[in-house]
């Protein structure tokens, strides 16, 4: 087990270096001139030249990459040219917001997706199964953007139960914080729940038709034990993989949902930075989210081992 984990850890560093190449390289493909984009309406050539110099736009790309990486290894992700704040500070400011939104959305997805998927598999071909499938299809086919606006119109404008958008830090009031996050978390979680449900259902169906489940049933075990202990534990492997991937994706920012609900997380930060060509922010945030993604995959590997004894040997 240790050898496996060490091997997995060993490929993280080269993966991160590769990711940094891609992030930096792809950003250079963005059309337009970052200095001009930054200047907006104002076109003073001196000011634009200053931005160009600050961004080192006149230097070769390899040099720029080297400067960036030299900063990164020292913990300096650069400075947002648009608002003159260190990118590291912005990341730390947004990280709790994105983490909370991702965690709440995952909770919604797990609470809806897994029980529905299990129910659908256990009651295969019944009205429960069809019902769950219809709900999943709805979740998959409803655009986040539309659902978000509809929820705002219903729960905020019409009923006045929840704030329409914005974010309240937990320190300023846990109630207000949760109220602000309920709708975005539901909108995000709803779509993931549908995917979770489909995966749980197919994994469970496969496991339920296997020999050991038949044997367990033949031994006279309670159905609850058969499903909970034998079937679900084995069926959960692909669901864990999916959960880790979806969570990783949530950490990289739920662009549309954050935009609709004005949640100041990674998604909103990165989109605004791309449109404003705030290179340091784009690079810094993507690097952080990519690292989180890689770390989550590593944690998923550990989770496989915890639930599946065969992998431990």
């Amino acid at each position: 087990m240790m050898t496996f984990l060490v091997r997995r850890l060993a490929i993280i560093l080269p993966t991160l270096v590769f990711v940094s190449f891609i992030i930096f390289g792809l950003q250079q493909l963005l059309p337009g001139d970052p200095a001009l984009a930054m200047a907006g309406e104002e076109r003073d050539p001196d000011a634009i030249a200053h931005i160009r110099k600050t961004l080192r736009l006149d230097e070769p790309i390899a040099m720029r990459y080297a400067y960036w990486m030299a900063g990164v290894v020292q913990g300096d992700l650069g400075i947002s040219l648009r608002i003159q704040k260190p990118v590291g500070e912005l990341v730390l400011q947004k990280l709790p917001v994105t983490l909370q939104l991702a965690a709440m959305a995952m909770l919604v997805a797990l609470l809806i997706g897994i029980p529905m998927g299990m129910l659908s598999a256990v009651k295969n071909g019944s009205a429960w199964d069809y019902g769950a499938n219809v709900i999943a299809l709805w979740g998959l086919s409803t655009p986040n953007f539309w659902l978000g606006i509809m929820m705002i119109l219903l729960f905020s404008v019409e009923l006045g139960w929840l704030p329409a958008s914005g974010y309240v830090p937990p320190a300023e009031g846990l109630g207000a914080n949760l109220a602000a996050m309920v709708m975005p978390a539901f909108v995000l979680g709803n779509a993931i729940a549908a995917v979770m449900m489909r995966h749980t259902r197919s994994a469970m169906l496969q496991v339920l038709s296997s020999d050991y489940v038949r044997t367990a049933r033949a031994k006279g075990l309670y159905e609850r034990a058969v499903i909970g202990k034998h079937a679900w534990r084995n069926a959960s492997i692909p669901v864990i993989t999916l959960g880790a991937l979806e969570f990783g994706q949530l950490l990289s920012g739920a662009v549309l949902t954050e935009q609709v609900f004005s949640i100041p997380g990674f998604g909103k930060l990165i989109v605004d930075a791309v449109f404003n060509r705030d290179y340091a922010v784009v690079q810094g945030v993507v690097l952080c989210t990519a690292s989180a993604y890689i770390l989550l995959n590593f944690l998923a590997d550990i989770a496989y081992m915890l639930v599946n004894p065969r992998l431990r040997s």
Binding site: G40, D44, P45, S80, Q84, I149, P163
Partner: protein
């Protein structure tokens, strides 16, 4: 069941504290997130809205664009119009308790001129020296007469920053700005909120009734409006034209509006690189393009008729508008004839527009209007930052682009039509216009300046580097409990007199 639901809803509402805000707190929904809050380095329009509460200016404008004192009580030009003597108000403090005096004013202006990356330098570039005459008086010496200078001092170039704070923070000053405005900076969470609090030592504090202002950037128009309707915001700026009926019907809200200082238009590449050599390089084709447009119909279709048509860089209501050249009527037959005369009866033209829904709609309406005259416009939707670069490089034929507008008509005009100017995407260059621009800038006699602008209009509206289409209106929607708003054509929300009852 019903009781449970109601109790749940009540609990949620209580938890959320829906609509709760301390008395005299004004929550303003902004259409964008401002850039850095440093008057020297700032670039965005939306940042100016925040500055109007945070940083006082030397001079301000009235809603009808007259100049009025703010931090400066008076200003006088020398006989040769190369020196401007400015006298300051005696009782002004910065938010850090430092006194505003002539030395501090000199520091602020010199900071605009010398701080690397300053976007104010170009606005006041003509300044040669600033001399302190006494503690409250300073003189600005110019290299040559430059009439737009006073108007520049009504905006960010005229904002005074605390020398002590600015020296200490350098280019990070914008992360915690210290000015002389009625409100002082409290905090900023990027993309979430900017919070300001009443400055108790403000020199005109009897006109300030608010205790706190929270600016919340919400980019989506529908969501911004939903926040107003649900009570999360008290005030929103830039209401979409298509939402106006909805707001007007709702008795809980008031709506205010005024025509903007800026314009929306089509920039034509007539001299910027190889692509200027196409059909649009021909003046007859440019005239045909303008004649094929029905501006009123365009506004009606895309903006429910809410905006104002125009054909000059200032709106028809502006005192500097040349009434002898009114908005031309659509004349498709003449447009067709002109195209034939030009030898391009069916020119295919690439029409660059930003990717926003509104810009696309405008482009589609223009495309169908001009088709009747024989044009074949190919719409090229381009992400905004990329379109700016393409426009600068001359890689376009016609480009739908607006300008937020400046107090002095000079600010809407000169940089777009002067030979070699960085904002002159069309590549327009006309020596007669250059002379007229010089004439308009070298005198402070408004009548003479207007005369020069009228003459410029006669030339450039024939050259057509830009076909001006319409002027938007600023729309503000706010809860009935908010009162005291005075509409200014620069679109800024001045906080003097604003109340939350």
């Amino acid at each position: 069941m019903n009781k449970t639901l109601t109790a749940g809803a009540l609990a949620l509402a209580l938890l959320a504290g829906v609509g709760a805000a301390p008395a005299q707190t004004l929550r303003i929904g902004l259409a964008e997130d401002p850039d850095i809050l440093d008057p020297t380095l700032a670039r965005t329009f939306v940042g100016r809205i925040v500055f109007s509460a945070l940083c006082d200016k030397l001079i301000d404008i009235t809603p009808d664009l007259k100049l009025v004192p703010r931090l400066a009580t008076e200003w006088n030009w020398s006989a040769d119009e190369k020196s401007l003597t400015v006298k300051l108000r005696p009782d002004v403090l910065f938010h850090d308790g430092e006194k505003l005096d002539a030395a501090a004013a000199k520091y602020s202006l010199e900071r605009h001129l010398t701080l690397p990356g300053s976007f104010r330098r170009a606005e006041i570039r003509g300044i040669k020296a600033i001399e302190v005459l006494d503690p409250l008086t300073f003189r600005i010496d110019l290299e040559a007469p430059f009439a737009p200078l006073v108007a520049q001092l009504t905006d960010r170039a005229g904002m005074m920053v605390s020398p002590k704070a600015a020296r200490a923070m350098g280019d990070k000053f914008g992360t915690a700005p210290v000015c002389t405005g009625p409100f002082k900076f409290v905090e900023r969470v990027a993309q979430d909120r900017i919070v300001l609090e009443r400055f108790e030592q403000y020199w005109e504090k009897d006109k300030i009734h608010l205790q706190r202002i929270e600016y919340r950037p919400i980019i989506d128009n529908t969501v911004r409006l939903a926040n107003l309707k649900s009570g999360q915001l008290d005030f929103i700026e830039r209401v979409a034209a298509t939402d106006l009926d909805d707001v007007r019907k709702d008795r809980r809200f008031k709506l205010s509006s005024i025509v903007e200082l800026g314009y929306q238009g089509i920039t034509i590449n007539m001299g910027n690189g190889a692509r200027a050599k196409g059909p649009m390089g021909n003046p007859k084709v440019r005239e045909a393009l303008e004649l094929s447009l029905d501006r009123q119909a365009l506004i009606q279709v895309v903006f429910n008729g809410e905006f104002e048509v125009g054909n000059q860089w200032i709106s028809p209501g502006n005192a500097a508008y040349n009434k002898a050249i009114p908005v031309p009527k659509r004349d498709v037959a003449k447009a067709r004839a002109l195209l034939r005369e030009a030898g391009h009866p069916n020119p295919t033209i690439e029409f660059m527009v930003a990717t926003t829904g509104e810009a696309q709609q405008v482009a589609q309406v223009i495309q169908s209007m001009t088709k009747e005259a024989g044009f074949d416009l190919k719409i090229r939707a381009t992400e905004f930052a990329s379109s700016l670069k393409l426009a600068e490089q001359g890689d376009f034929e016609i480009y739908y682009l607006g300008w937020s507008g400046r107090t002095d008509p000079d600010g809407n005009l000169v940089q777009f039509i002067t030979c070699g100017s960085p904002n002159n995407n069309s590549g327009h260059c006309n020596q007669e216009v250059e002379k007229l621009i010089l004439a308009s800038r070298s005198t402070n006699d408004l009548a003479k300046r207007r005369e020069a602008w009228h003459a410029i209009a006669r030339v450039t509206l024939t050259d057509r580097p830009i076909v001006y289409l319409f002027h938007r209106k600023w729309f503000w929607a706010y809860a009935n409990k908010v009162s005291g708003l005075v509409e200014y054509p620069d679109g800024l929300v001045r906080v003097h007199g604003l109340k939350v009852n």
